[in-house]
């Protein structure tokens, strides 16, 4: 968590990774917040994580009042996320009260109120000293009670009462046709409203979160993708790019001494990002492998994302040109993560990446190729993801190398991926295969390199069993 701003009111950390960042510290402390969304969008889980993390991370006991699932069902459903409700219950940190209203066995006559609900909630809160409360989803009452006037006035009273009680509460609500919630709960709970959304775009499911309203506080206004995986919910604030990272003056080698010399600095800056573009078969992966080796030689761990080749295939192919990755993998300096882009959504890839970053703690990250990601998301989404990734890598001072497959020889500017990231990359190298005198000639051109001068001529190179050779460039440099 970052340092809280002075002027904002107290907030309660949500326990949902990434959400505190967007809300500027969490939910309004001591007030109810509304989470709405259609069926299956993750409301219950969201609320449960708020409670469970509240207990485990912030030592704030919690009450879960369930109007739908039974206590046993809840325990079972969230076990896969590592939430052990029964254990927390036995430690008196959590109470689950299942309010079950069986319409068929209830008759109504005369005046009544919902004091029974208040008493139950109050009893549950006081019995464990709860600081957090979840009501999931209180709209079920609308199906159980016929007197709407009573229900509405009691709901208003309930939310007032929760505020007085000083608990931070999450109220969940089912999405309505034209309203945020089917029964207009937003009318009562209006301090903080969060909308969850689940949609399928191009056969890939994406979950999104948006803060509709947060009274008295600044907040991110975008739609943020979020994930549900074995460790719960995490929100990815994709567009929180802040240009406040430090820039290193240290130069690192690209792994090819001749290529280094084409830059006036003698290499690229540490912590900078390099984009490698070219059509199929222009030796992008080979250059990436050289880049990886150079990092390994500096004893700096490398995380290599391979979207097209398996680790085995990659090491075999590189070995034929004299780049021996095997010992590096063995020594743990090189970690290759291979997966098909279409295996999971963009956000999942980003999350995997983040998790591996924390695990491997690399100094160099290679993504080969980023253009594969285009197949699973629109270009703006991919750009969003890459912006976030580059941002993270820069903040951590990690050298980044991205390769990208282009389709047109003539005009690489029209290419979607290149378009998306070329402006973000610090260094851009374009590889080409040219036909010259009945011969195919490989060339390399440094398109740009921020903060240093570079050769502007395409350099011919050949691939030999000992790696890449720049015969012509050698002469030029001398």
């Amino acid at each position: 968590m970052k340092v809280q701003k002075k002027n904002t009111f107290p907030k309660t950390p949500t326990g949902i990774s990434g959400l505190d960042e967007i809300t500027g510290g969490g939910f309004p402390k001591g007030r109810p917040a509304l989470i709405c969304g259609s069926a299956g969008c993750g409301k219950t889980l969201f609320a449960m994580q708020f409670l469970v993390k509240g207990i485990t991370d912030f030592n704030e006991p919690g009450v879960f009042m369930s109007f739908e699932e039974s206590s046993a069902d809840l325990s079972q459903n969230v076990r896969s996320l590592g939430f052990e409700l029964e254990k927390l219950k036995s430690e008196n940190k959590l109470r689950v009260d299942h309010v079950h209203i069986e319409r068929s066995e209830i008759e109504e006559t005369g005046e009544y109120d919902l004091e029974g609900l208040f008493i139950r909630l109050n009893y549950a809160i006081d019995s464990i000293g709860a600081k957090r409360v979840v009501l999931d989803t209180i709209e079920s009452l609308f199906a159980g009670i016929s007197n709407m006037a009573v229900l509405r006035s009691e709901l208003r009273r309930l939310f007032q009462w929760l505020k007085q009680k000083g608990v931070t509460a999450i109220i969940t609500g089912e999405r309505g046709e034209n309203t945020l919630t089917r029964h207009g709960l937003e009318e009562y709970v209006s301090d903080c409203v969060i909308l969850l959304d689940f949609r399928v775009i191009d056969q890939l499911a994406t979950r999104r979160l948006r803060i509709v309203k947060y009274r008295g506080s600044t907040h991110g206004t975008n739609e943020y993708p979020f994930l549900i995986d074995e460790s719960g919910i995490s929100v990815i604030p994709v567009t929180s790019l802040r240009l406040d990272y430090k820039s290193s003056k240290e130069i690192i080698s690209t792994g090819l001494p001749v290529l280094d010399k084409l830059f006036s600095g003698g290499g690229v800056f540490r912590g900078s990002s390099t984009l490698l573009t070219g059509t199929a078969g222009t030796a992008k992966t080979i250059l990436a492998a050289h880049f990886a080796m150079s990092s390994c030689r500096r004893k700096e761990p490398v995380l290599y994302f391979s979207f097209e080749e398996s680790p085995d295939q990659l090491t075999r192919n590189m070995a034929t040109i004299g780049v021996n990755l095997k010992p590096m993998i063995k020594s743990g300096l090189l970690f290759i993560h291979a997966s098909r882009p279409s295996l999971q959504g963009l956000e999942m890839h980003l999350l995997t990446l983040h998790k591996l970053l924390a695990e491997v703690n690399p100094r160099t990250v290679i993504v080969d190729p980023i253009s594969s990601l285009i197949t699973i998301g629109s270009s703006s989404e991919v750009r969003g993801m890459l912006v976030r990734l580059m941002d993270t890598l820069k903040t951590l001072q990690i050298n980044a190398l991205f390769t990208s497959l282009t389709h047109q020889q003539q005009n690489e500017h029209n290419d979607a991926t290149v378009d998306a990231v070329s402006s973000l990359a610090d260094t851009w190298i374009n590889l080409r295969n040219e036909s010259r005198d009945n011969e195919r000639v490989r060339t390399l051109l440094i398109v740009k390199s921020r903060g240093m001068g570079h050769f502007n001529q395409p350099q011919d190179f050949t691939i030999t069993s000992k790696g890449i050779r720049f015969d012509q460039a050698l002469k030029n440099i001398k």
């Binding site: 209830i106 008759e107 006559t109 109120d113 919902l114 029974g116 008493i119 139950r120 009893y123």
Partner: protein, 99 residues
């Protein structure tokens, strides 16, 4: 004496001496005397004093009358001001006075 299965066990949940609760108790007493004379028992539970009982009988509204016996459990919420509905809800046949 009425046979055992004819015994009615009723439970009235209230929260303090509110007008609604007082009225509900008066109403159910009246109906029982009229229709179930000698065959019923009414237990009044004040949730302000015993909040832990609310969960077991799934009480959310106050006042709530619960028919524990005979089974199945039936619930009537409200001040029980409509006699016919209460009798219907409890499944007690009113004595129909003809002529």
């Amino acid at each position: 004496m009425a046979p055992k299965e004819k015994l009615w066990q009723l439970r009235l949940y209230v929260a303090g001496q509110t007008p609604k609760s007082v009225l509900a108790l008066k109403n159910i007493n009246d109906y029982c005397k009229k229709h179930l004379a000698g065959k019923y028992s009414i237990e009044v539970i004040d949730l302000l004093k015993n909040p832990q009982f609310a969960e077991g009988d799934q009480i959310f509204a106050i006042p709530t009358l619960v028919r524990k016996v005979p089974e199945p459990i039936r619930k009537i919420i409200g001040d029980l001001s409509n006699e016919e509905r209460v009798l219907m809800g409890l499944n007690i046949r009113p004595i129909i006075l003809e002529n």
